[in-house]
Amino acid sequence: MKMNRRETLKSLLLAPLAAGAATAGCASGARVNWTELPREYSYGRTEAEQRRDRELFAESYFSEHELVTIAVLCDIILPSDHPNGGALDAGLPDFVEFIVKDRETLKLPVRGGIAWLDAYAVAEFGADFVNIEEPRRLAICDRIAWPDVEDPVLQPGIRFFSLMRDLTLTGYYTTRQGLRDLGYQGNVANVWDGVPTEVLARHGLRYEPEWLAKCVDQSRRDIVATWDDDMNLTS
């Protein structure tokens, strides 16, 4: 059923969503490029953790309508027209669905946020958020994407959009595409030997010779440590 849901979602995003409504232009065919998320994770889990994750994967919380709305919002927040891909390329909204199920405190804000968004879209443009034309969707986003807007009527939408922005960005920047987009260089075995010289120069900083003299000589890191009786390293 889970595999099918993804297919269903894809077709819903590609097709007109409801009779008489506009097409889901923002998620038009060219922009939908799903990246499969892993279905199994093995990284030192206890039995209790494995059980919990299995339960979460099996749990259905969002309706298809809600999932499509999440997908459309993720796509607006971080679109795919970029060399490093966008939210949909990075497997959102699957991540959003999982994390919302995992963190109980997110459930109501996301469900209620979608309902608010739909009610607002119906009142303004006569249809659910995903069933109005793209320019109208963006018009709504323009009203709720900026937390400094003080209109009390918009506050629930502003809060919801901020939450979706947080979840989209955290979901994207914790994928391979996201790390590439960021330029992250770490999480590999290496030998730290200080801030690169050109970086120090750019910041107008330098290592004090006295401090540096105390630091590890990385060319001798593999030589077994020995000390004299006065606590001086001798190797």
Partner: protein, 569 residues
């Protein structure tokens, strides 16, 4: 079921103290039973390894869960709440209690900050008239600190500081960029900074363990065994000696005693099959953590030990105290749009500030040290939240959507500097844990109830911490983030237990009326029962406790060996 063997020593708990006792006693030729409530664990075993995992290898991208409160990749199995193992609190107490359930205990996730206590730390009453002196002094522990340095490995520098003693150090790593900003800022404010002291191998110490490869993931436990965990450094070699039997998933219910009051072994439950198990031994070394050891003692009631084993003084559980803590962060505009390179470094800080105001006229008695954080960490759940909030400081609009957010993310990546303070509290007789007569855990063992409140000492100290952090972050070029907590929030003071440095529940002393063990961790009330965890601490310094736990556990083990040699045990 009963163990066929009469062990020379039964060690309860496999953390820093239990690991050290096991290693030392086995090395001396004793037959040892090591009892651990959780499973066997080795981070080098790929099925248990979380090191070098990328965020997408976790479906929640490393977010914390109730089962893994420090994040999905953190090595520690345990947490603030354990299923089936509750504890209770007295009204007005917000005690937090972290319990590990795994080989190596909490040494699997600690910060590896390894600070010797100084001479003053053993004699605080002489200085401020509060609490009590230890019955021993720095000179008693120094030889063991020396040995621990060489056996375990710790980087740092000899600075000749009066109360932060020198050691046999490995050389420290060079500071990162944000740490250079901190050094400059702190110096300008007249606050000293030194290389951190951490039990991470920046240099080889033997052929068994690896050397640090700078992944910043000590909290995930090191598959190269290049940092200190009790399991990797002490327990595996002890087991390799052939003189140690490890009983994993085995929960100790109580210490059994004979009519003459001495211990004969421990009663346990096998958590796998819920069967009772008795392990017989000539001596028992409790190292289950300060509070768990107190719980075992209080549950070891017999005709001879009516109020619990070792509790004739009524002091078991008393003087429970934890380190204080507070933290603050800033945005460093000079670190915007920075060059991106690999600056993972070791787990946590490369530089720190030890207590620098000894003897100053302050409205609190005890000191604290500063731990420095920041840099270009690997993203995990939470990265990108409030992605462009710092634009507010630049007079730009916060929020929005679209590809511009990518630029914001890159622009502010690694531009945060944070400080965490860790301080000494004043031990109080009135802060304690005791048995809750009305509640048992799923093994039928009565649980602990905590009664603990901070005093003006700690609250005033926290106010000072906040002022200091504000001053140093600004001196480093930072724009302060968040609000400065005031008196209504006890100046951001952490909850008792939250820093996971709880000590003092079985404190040592020369007077059996006011202490639980003698200066060697031997119970006044039962000569063949010892405490080798932080329960024996009379006071917790403005340092982290692990190095002192290791040194004292070694010292206690030497004493046990000597007593056995003299046939006193």
């Amino acid at each position: 079921m009963s163990s066929n063997e009469q062990y020379d020593a039964i060690v309860v708990g496999s953390g820093a103290g239990g690991g050290m006792a096991t290693w030392r006693l086995a090395q001396a030729g004793l037959r040892v039973a090591l009892v651990e409530a959780g499973p066997w664990y080795d981070p080098a075993d790929d099925s248990q390894r979380t090191q070098f995992r990328y965020p997408w290898e976790s479906p929640r991208r490393g977010a914390s869960t109730r089962l893994r409160p420090f994040g999905d990749f953190n090595a520690c199995i345990g947490g603030w709440e354990l299923d089936g193992e509750p504890f209770t609190t007295a009204e007005g107490t917000d005690f937090m209690w972290w319990r590990a359930r795994m080989l190596g205990g909490r040494t699997n996730h600690w910060g590896r900050i390894s600070l010797r206590f100084g001479p003053l730390d053993f004699k605080r009453r002489d200085i401020d008239g509060l609490g009590d002196n230890w019955p021993i002094g720095y000179e008693d522990v120094k030889p063991y600190y020396d040995k621990v340095d060489k056996l375990v490995g710790v980087f740092g520098t000899n600075e000749g500081l009066p109360n932060d003693p020198d050691g046999f150090f490995l050389p420290p790593p060079k500071p990162r960029l944000h740490e250079l900003y901190y050094i400059r800022g702190a110096r300008s404010a007249g606050v000293p900074v030194y290389p951190a002291r951490k039990s991470i191998l920046t240099k080889r110490i033997n052929d068994e363990r690896g050397v640090c490869v700078y992944c910043r993931q000590c909290d995930r436990a090191c598959s190269l065994h290049a940092d200190f965990s009790s399991s990797t450094v002490l327990i595996y070699p002890a087991v390799a000696s052939g003189r140690v039997d490890v009983y994993t998933n085995t929960m100790v219910r109580k210490v059994d005693t004979s009519p003459d009051g001495s211990a004969t072994g421990v009663s346990c439950i096998d958590r796998g099959n819920r069967r009772e198990l008795r392990i017989n031994g000539r001596s028992v070394v409790l190292a289950a953590s300060a509070c768990s050891t107190a719980r075992i003692l209080l549950n070891s009631i017999s005709a001879r030990h009516g109020s619990g084993l070792g509790n004739s003084s009524g002091h078991v559980g008393r003087y429970l105290h934890d380190s204080t803590g507070a933290s603050r962060a800033a945005f460093l505009p000079e670190l915007m749009d920075r060059d991106i390179y690999n600056e993972d470094g070791v787990g946590g800080m490369h530089v720190y500030t030890p207590w620098w105001l000894e003897g100053a006229n302050l409205d609190f008695a005890r000191g604290y040290h500063l731990e420095i954080g920041g840099g270009m960490s690997m993203p995990s759940y939470g990265f990108g939240f409030a992605a462009n909030q710092y634009k507010a400081f630049l007079g730009e609009r916060v929020g929005g959507y679209g590809n511009g957010l990518r630029d914001d993310i890159r622009r502010f990546y690694g531009s945060r500097l944070s400080i965490a303070c860790r301080g000494e509290s004043v031990p109080q007789y009135g802060n304690y844990c005791e048995l809750d007569p009305n509640v048992v855990d799923e093994w039928g063992i009565p649980v602990l109830r905590f009664d603990y409140r901070w005093t003006e000492q700690e609250i005033n100290q926290a106010r000072h911490m906040q002022d200091t952090m504000e001053e140093l972050l600004e001196a480093s070029g930072g724009v302060l983030l968040g609000d400065k907590p005031g008196p209504e929030r006890q100046y951001g003071l952490t909850q008792p237990g939250e820093i996971i440095h709880e000590v003092g529940t079985t404190r040592m002393g020369d007077d059996p009326a006011t202490s639980v063990t003698n200066r060697y961790g031997q119970l006044h009330d039962a000569g063949n029962v010892f405490v080798a965890d932080a329960g024996t601490f009379v006071s917790q310094a403005d340092k982290n406790p692990t190095w002192t736990i290791l040194a004292l556990a070694w010292r206690t083990s030497d004493y046990i060996v000597e007593q056995m040699r003299q046939r006193n045990l």
